[in-house]
Symmetry: C2
Subunit: 410 residues, 2 copies
Amino acid sequence: MNRAAAEQLDVNDPLRAMRERFELPESVVYLDGNSLGALPRRVVDAVARTVKDDWGAGLVRSWNGADWIGLPSRVGALIAPLIGAQPDQVIACDSTTINIHKLVSAATQLRPGRDVFVCERTNFPSDSYAVHRIAATYGATVLEADADDMLDVIEQAGSRLAVVELTHVHYKTGRMHDMRAVTDTTHRHGGLTVWDLAHSAGAVPVELDACGADFALGCGYKFLNGGPGAPAFAYVADRHLANVENVLPGWMGHAQPFDFTHTYTAAPDIRRMLTGTPYVLSMVALEAALLDWADVDINAVRAKSIALSELFIDLVAELDHHGFGLASPRNAALRGSQVSLTHPEGYAIMQALIDRGVIGDFRAPDILRFGLTPLYTRFVDVWDACDALGDVMRDQTWNDERYQTRKAVT
Amino acid sequence: MNRAAAEQLDVNDPLRAMRERFELPESVVYLDGNSLGALPRRVVDAVARTVKDDWGAGLVRSWNGADWIGLPSRVGALIAPLIGAQPDQVIACDSTTINIHKLVSAATQLRPGRDVFVCERTNFPSDSYAVHRIAATYGATVLEADADDMLDVIEQAGSRLAVVELTHVHYKTGRMHDMRAVTDTTHRHGGLTVWDLAHSAGAVPVELDACGADFALGCGYKFLNGGPGAPAFAYVADRHLANVENVLPGWMGHAQPFDFTHTYTAAPDIRRMLTGTPYVLSMVALEAALLDWADVDINAVRAKSIALSELFIDLVAELDHHGFGLASPRNAALRGSQVSLTHPEGYAIMQALIDRGVIGDFRAPDILRFGLTPLYTRFVDVWDACDALGDVMRDQTWNDERYQTRKAVT
């Protein structure tokens, strides 16, 4: 393998034209789309138009005129096909963490008399914090499993099982759970699943309906490219909707919000998961970003993602002697759209890489994460990143005080 | 009074230069800043820069480089002086409704063994929905008072009183509670106050610290002009902070978010009220809008607000014979920065007015709201609005089918 061969892979890439849809700085190899997706060009105009025309000139009339009121449903419907859901089962609202609270609480209430939650020991912090807090509210016990013994722990909960809350693709390692197997096992014991798709939506094919999933939520600003702090989304399977309570009721989730009635009557559809007023500017950016997905085949994205990550892993294998470990599964079928390495000097190595324009990120204590986002990541980017990584190790660039100093955000 | 006299009032207005800071369409008299504030000119560039430079070019590095991570605290500190708080007692996050849930829950937990909430019978729906939902969680009773018997009902709750949750300025009528009297009475019985400042912040002087308030929250998109669906804010009095639990814990409220630790340890400061990732684009718009407040004297705003509303009420008095009632208090000291009228044909009348470029809004069943926002509302706007209202009534313009048809957002 050499750089020319990587360039040839890009020439043959059926998704190569997609990169033109994004604004990407020339000097950067961006491998952090799993943290913050790159800027889709069409977002620039969409946001500017919303600010100047819809807010500035339309003013409050734009709730109707620009259909701001329809944003949560409209954006949800755009996300639905990427996660194997029907358009009316998904709504965009609030943050990922708030939606974890909403959906785990909703699921818990559908399983009265059951008092065991199962989640992953190394889940993303928000997932853990929410699950433990809700367990305290309902007097439930949390069983924490490792990825390998997940099905066993679910079995162990047995007839006490209420809810299994899992991040489908692990934020640190990229390890992917078998959604169908987990859902089947959960259902066999009468429990319900809540899937966090933060690292799945737009990254890997997800089949919520086909797997019989109950609830799901995810993030708008990672692989969906909705912009920093983009609103999140929530999915509720049709069969549960009529019985689902939003424990954070607010005026936007009411059946008739503009009647301003004193008593809460939940909207009959997925809008019952809404709470407050939608974050219009952030939501409009997410909507524009999602329009870029309309003609994208998620299976083509997956195929390229695997090819990119296999190339990455192969090239890093040649740097083994510098002390790198592979934190991600070696088997592509078990891996999302990222490659994570371990190294005791991971933090400083990543800072040195970023300083060279190769942007990934670091997760304590020792993980270097590299996100592979097939809409704009090229094979030559993977080559250049690994080349830079080799240089940083060979020259010990990382061994410099300025790279050791922790920043506010790592 | 005539139009020329109104023009002269504008000439003598010490705040007249402020209007230049806003983008306002020529053809419009905008009296709905209590629903959605107008667009501050500086927001246009701030948002465009954030999208293109910070997101597009800076990418994930902007969490440090553009200090996105500091946004919630920075925006909170800009709001603090407008509500009589210290900068480190206020944080910007989530929606108004979510913050009602957070703060009423937090207050409730500080008063274990007490099981009565007091709120206003005609409170904004989100306030009512949240208070009743939280009451159900904690097994509490909700006493609903009218504005006039608020202190009596608080007295009545006596030693069972846990929390008084009130919107300081009523969303429909503009009636303003006496924050000091309510707080004193609440404290005398050992309860805590949660103030919803949605229609107060930027509209009237608020003295949270001086009144001894416990908790408060409010809206970013009304008088603060932060844009459609701007994030909200939350205030926690210093003396409570160490004991306050955020019942919606998430990674951003952790003491060390980037350690990604499994166990939740709340941030020692107001950041413990954070849950998920900040909505950066929406938050940046709000931040820019707040910079316009730096040199504004809220007492000057209040003086002009009263002058505008007195003029409005006087001019409408001449239209009495058309069946208008005054829903707002006649006494300016009891009124926020809006004038609300009643009329059985209120909906159609408002649509006819909007069609003429005079923008207020309607609240069921019969209220026409007119917001007075001294930074950009002129005396001549009030004159023109009342003139148009007179025309609409005299010509019965409202009595047309197209004005009777309800829109999605009223």
